[in-house]
């Protein structure tokens, strides 16, 4: 199972890089907290708890974008992506390893965001957490591939949100639906469908994103 060994080596590398550089994760944590605070000043007095929950998903999405923008930064700045692409390992392992590390960062950011949300606005139930967990998978999968695409362009950080947001709409629908409706199972199922479909597409097409 050298494929999994490759993925493990690459994911470990990304986590190690973040441990050394310590720039992306603290920024994500601070960003999500700041956003939650801003929401207090944005919501009118008689807003429902549901509106706040919806805004939580906005916060998660944009925090994820922050992390994703930095995802391939090291590879881009130092040209190391060539080194990874030239290795005999399957190119999709690069995607999977990077996506796993993004998943970890996102999870850690939410570990802070969700309690803060519960503190500021209202209850966080099991369905919300399930929705967040599944949404993370979709965000990490699609976001990592798009981040690699954006790396190849001149516009870089500007391009990633434009590419990502339309694809993130179904994720948001699934997540918010799981949080606020009386029928969360349906939305969880939908998120699972999205994750499965797009993970397969990303896995199959990453090769073409990093080669000519």
């Amino acid at each position: 199972m050298t494929y999994l060994a490759d993925v493990g080596a690459l994911a470990r590398k990304d986590l190690l890089l973040e441990l050394r550089a310590r720039d992306t994760l603290p920024a994500m944590l601070l960003f999500v907290l700041s956003t939650l605070v801003v929401f207090h000043f944005v919501l009118p007095g008689d807003s429902s708890e549901l509106a706040a929950t919806g805004l939580l998903w906005v916060a998660i999405l944009f925090t994820a974008l922050l992390g994703l923008t930095r995802a391939f930064a090291a590879e881009r700045e130092q040209g190391v992506i060539d080194g990874l692409v030239l290795a005999p390992s399957d190119r999709s392992a690069i995607w999977l390893g990077k996506a796993l590390s993004i998943l970890v960062f996102l999870g850690l950011a939410e570990l802070v965001a969700l309690p803060a949300f519960a503190l500021f606005y209202g209850a966080v139930d099991a369905w919300l957490i399930a929705g967040v967990a599944l949404a993370n998978l979709g965000i990490a999968a699609v976001g990592t591939l798009l981040a690699a695409m954006a790396t190849a362009s001149r516009a870089r950080e500007l391009l990633l949100p434009l590419l990502f947001l339309p694809l993130a709409i179904p994720i948001v629908v699934g997540g918010v639906g799981a949080s606020v409706t009386a029928d969360p199972g349906r939305y969880i199922g939908f998120l699972g469908l999205y994750d499965a479909l797009f993970a397969i597409i990303c896995w199959a097409s990453f090769e073409y994103v990093v080669t000519e």
Partner: protein, 225 residues
């Protein structure tokens, strides 16, 4: 390829069909309760379906870029998607006009189709941003193709997402309006659709040929240097 004899024939066909469609829609098909507004609906649906066809064609060509390494396919995919965005924008405009006369305001989130087109319009606009920020070459062809295929996958997923979202956005029951068609109406619709497809095909050929000539010219200039 450059002496494409099909193009004038195609343009003529588009002209004939469009005229026929306008004639049928405005003079032949009976009015129903929507009145004159319904006439726009014929074109709106035809334009929308044509936009889907363009995106689908672009997706097919994108597959050929990746699978067969077909270089021409990249340009064809790009032009198809370009046409798709143009027709998509038209679909949004005609849909908005229709919504204004049916519901009273210029936008209606209840109309799944309109919302879907908005999402697709955003998605494929990003396609152009992607293309313009990567230097031309096999890399750009690959990236565009992968993104175009994401677009194809996004259509059914978005349809599902939009339907699901209505459950928590508008829990009130809504009217899934839209005409049911009698025979004569169906004929007018079919001709409209054929007309829009012919129009799209013509514009596709025109733009594709124009771009291919451009490329040839530049190659010649470079070779003479």
């Amino acid at each position: 390829m450059l002496r494409n004899s099909r193009l004038p024939a195609l343009a003529a066909l588009a002209f004939v069909l469009t005229t026929a469609a306008i004639a049928l829609v405005f003079f032949y098909a009976p009015l129903d309760e929507d009145g004159l507004n319904q006439k726009i609906f014929y074109f709106h649906v035809a334009i929308a379906l044509t936009a889907y066809a363009c995106f689908g064609w672009g997706g097919w060509k994108a597959l050929r870029v990746l699978w067969k390494r077909d270089e021409n396919a990249d340009l064809e995919s790009y032009v198809a998607i370009h046409q798709g965005v143009i027709f998509g924008a038209l679909a949004l405009v005609t849909g908005s006009i229709w919504a204004r006369y049916r519901w009273g305001h210029w936008w209606e989130w209840n109309e799944d189709q309109l919302v879907l087109f908005l999402v697709l319009f955003l998605f494929y606009s990003a396609y152009f941003m992607l293309r313009f920020s990567v230097p031309p070459g096999p890399r750009r062809a690959n990236l565009s193709a992968v993104y175009a295929l994401f677009g194809v996958a996004l259509v059914p997923v978005s349809i599902l997402a939009i339907r699901l979202s209505e459950r928590f956005i508008h829990p009130v029951a809504f009217d899934r309006g839209g005409p049911n068609m009698a025979g004569s109406q169906f004929l007018a619709f079919c001709v409209s659709w054929a007309a829009m497809l012919a129009l799209a095909a013509t514009l596709y050929r025109v733009e594709l040929t124009g771009k291919q000539i451009d490329i040839r010219l530049r190659e010649l200039r470079e070779a003479l240097r």
